[in-house]
């Protein structure tokens, strides 16, 4: 079997970095940061909620750009990237939505308001869940259909945000986004780093799996296509991803 350290590589290093940062981040959040005066302790949820929402946007963009590349250049590599990013996107979106709902329940007394950010995040999450569904069940053209979906999804980010803001003007409800004091920002950065490092590690592991899957498929195909005698010529002998 392959040596675990070698196959660990960059995602392993990222995971380790996340594992080291995470306790520090939690300790900072709970012990070194003043309690927010208006929302109380529940505001501590925010420190992992915001990085997830940002990560969602980031991976939506990555997935969209990769999907566009996949469509324009017919690149399988880009398809793998788009797919892996789409999955991480759905994961981060679910995290952001759930933590947001819990935080909202604690501070606003309701898990859901029609706030522009909430609706934007929810729609984006829906788009990427749809992306995964199409990629899985879409039939022979699934890859390209899903890619078109991801392109629209990434493109929709500003449109969604803008349209939700328009929609909100008919039901105005002031949600003042307060500016954070510097010590809260200082605690936010380690959390952001931990979440992003973890997400990128998962993304890269997923990407490697996607590539290995492709490689295995091709190997099996090559193996079954050729006869038994000359199998050593037909099987790809490169390093699998």
């Amino acid at each position: 079997m392959s040596s675990p350290l070698r196959s660990f590589g960059r995602p392993g290093a990222l995971l380790c970095a996340a594992l080291v940062t995470f306790p520090y981040a939690v300790q900072r959040v709970f012990l070194d940061t003043p309690i927010e005066s208006e929302m109380g302790t529940a505001q501590k949820i925010f420190y992992f909620h915001l990085p997830m929402a940002w990560g969602l946007m980031l991976f939506a963009m990555i997935s969209g750009i990769a999907a566009a590349t996949q469509l324009s250049r017919r690149s399988e590599r880009a398809e793998d990237v788009a797919k892996a990013a789409g999955e991480v996107c759905a994961l981060l979106g679910a995290g952001a939505l759930v933590s947001g709902a819990i935080w909202g329940d604690a501070t606003w007394g309701t898990p859901w308001t029609g706030d522009a950010r909430l609706v934007t995040t929810a729609l984006l999450e829906l788009v990427f869940v749809a992306y995964l569904i199409v990629a899985k069940f879409g039939g022979p053209m699934a890859g390209r259909l899903a890619a078109a979906l991801a392109v629209f999804g990434a493109l929709d980010v500003p449109i969604i945000y803008y349209s939700v803001k328009i929609w909100k003007t008919t039901h105005p409800k002031a949600q003042v986004v307060q500016s954070l004091p510097p010590e809260m920002w200082a605690s936010l950065w380690p959390c952001l780093f931990a979440i992003l490092a973890c997400s990128f590690a998962l993304f890269e592991i997923r990407l490697r799996q996607e590539r290995l899957e492709r490689w295995l498929d091709e190997a099996w195909l090559a193996l079954s296509a050729r006869g038994a005698g000359n199998a050593e010529h037909s099987v790809p002998t490169g390093r699998s991803p």
């Binding site: 995290g95 819990i102 998962l202």
Partner: protein, 107 residues
């Protein structure tokens, strides 16, 4: 200057509060400092804070719990997938060995 008296005067007369001056006549003196209402107010305030803290606490536990279980679920899904791929890879290698071919380079 007794704060008890002044507050009681402002409060609507009830059976409970009406008993207090009677107690003084019995030779007891009302405790100066915190009157009943302030204490009740403080208690209710403390109860509110306690409820808030407990609610915040449970919300935080839920939020962090769900977040990390989401990540763990994803990681487990990745592990399962990876294990399946490794099995597939071993099957491929066995198949190759059975056909007498050179084994594939180690992945």
């Amino acid at each position: 200057m007794n704060p008890t008296i002044t507050t009681l005067k402002q409060a609507p007369p009830t059976a409970d509060q009406g008993a207090a001056p009677a107690a003084v006549e019995d030779g007891y003196e009302a405790v100066t400092g915190l009157d009943k209402e302030t204490v009740a107010l403080k208690r209710s305030y403390e109860a509110e804070v306690e409820a808030k803290v407990a609610s915040d606490y449970s919300h935080i536990v839920w939020a962090y719990g769900i977040l990390w279980s989401l990540f763990c679920g994803f990681a487990v899904a990745l592990l399962v997938r990876g294990a399946r791929q490794q099995r597939d890879l071993r099957a491929l290698r066995r198949e190759l060995d059975a056909r007498g071919a050179q084994p594939v380079d180690r992945p």
